[in-house]
Amino acid sequence: MRADYVNLVNTHTVPVRFMYHSPETLEEALRLMREYGGEARVMAGGTDLIVDMKLRRKEPKHIVSLNKIRGIEYIVEEDGGVRIGANTKLRSIEKNSIVRERFEALYEAVRSIASVQVRNMGTLVGNICNASPAADSAPPLLVYDAVVKARSIDGERKIKIRDFFKGPGKTCLKDDEIVTEVFIPYPPGDSASTFFKISRVSMDLAKVNIAILVKLSSNVVEDFRIALGAVAPTPLRIPKAEEYLRHKPLNEENLNIVEKIVSEEIKPITDVRSTEWYRREVSKILVRDALNSTIKKLVRT
């Protein structure tokens, strides 16, 4: 074996030295983030962060754990939507009846993440803050126009989810900001949404994932929203496809055009999980399948 092929990184240890902070209030956490800025990392469930530290992809000098902070673990209905706190575990979200009934695509996405064990630890906020282009909660949050609330010592800022992702592993958060919650407005009445994902095995990240939301008025599309993940440096809404289909009848010809627009708008790459060609081809099929499944939901109700 050639020397440069030898993998010097293993997962047996966490080869990073850091100070572990476990503040009991958000204010204290924010103060720590201001003090240590770029050298600190927030830790929620740790399911991404610890793997990244084991693989030396991240080497923070300080970890600010959200674990002991009270009052940031909740799912509450308010102001025309639900608010989900930063410490709320994926498993609680999937068990929540409001999420299951009104945010079908989010429910389906969360259920598709990893295993019960990982969902008992991992959070929705951690999933988006980690900013993987393949994050499964991102396409649903994009079609619902979710709003991310971030705080620093200086105050609160509301960020549209569309503006939140900046690149693989990159968000628009500043070094001293902590996301406190995600607000998800209710989708329009009489609409339905769906999430689909193609992955190698259920534990693996998506090769491609998709969320769509449809509202019909007889057979004419009143509202159509579509977002895909793992097909560009960030999860993407596809406004061109949305505009095309709005106010048009849902027929074979229009469907073909929407599929084509989607496959042209995405910017997939070839990586360990899939090839560019495959991602483009399978995206078309996912658009069709997701539309069919959503329409079935609409017919049922």
Partner: protein, 147 residues
């Protein structure tokens, strides 16, 4: 209750195995994929390889040692033996804990629910069918129904 002093970069898995010598908690992939390191924290299955030790200060952790009472096997353990629900046994402690968490929450799970619960426990020997049988059998036993 035990007191251990560790470095913050030790995982719960490290502490259980190296400090406390509880070797039923297995090292597998160490990145959350295989479930060999599963323990129950406050009754919920989690991967001890993805938890930093200081995070669980003051929490109650159940390993498979805690399933037996006065040297008596837990009904799940008995069913696993009766149904041959293991070959090499490497996944077994994690699978037993996952199964216990499931039965505590849902005394009569469906096969689908059992499969969902086991989605984070890989059995390289492929004893899944026997594992499912053993869990169903335990469920019946615990409800006082005989086979």
């Amino acid at each position: 209750m035990v007191k251990v002093q560790t470095e913050p970069n030790a995982t719960l898995l490290d502490v259980l195995r190296e400090e406390l010598r509880i070797s039923s908690v297995k090292r597998g992939c160490e990145v959350g994929e295989c479930g060999a390191c599963t323990v129950l924290i406050d009754g919920k299955p989690v991967n001890s390889c993805l938890i930093l030790a200081p995070k669980v200060e003051g929490r109650s952790i159940l390993t498979v040692e805690g399933l037996t009472r006065n040297d008596e096997l837990h009904p799940l353990q008995e069913s696993f033996i009766e149904e041959f629900a293991l070959q090499c046994g490497y996944c077994t402690p994690g699978v037993l804990l996952t199964a216990k968490a499931l039965l505590d929450l849902k005394p009569s799970p469906t096969i689908e629910e059992i499969k969902e619960a086991l989605s984070g426990n890989i059995c390289r020997c492929g004893a899944y069918q026997e594992i499912i049988n053993a869990i169903l059998k335990t469920s019946r036993k615990l409800q006082g129904k005989s086979d």
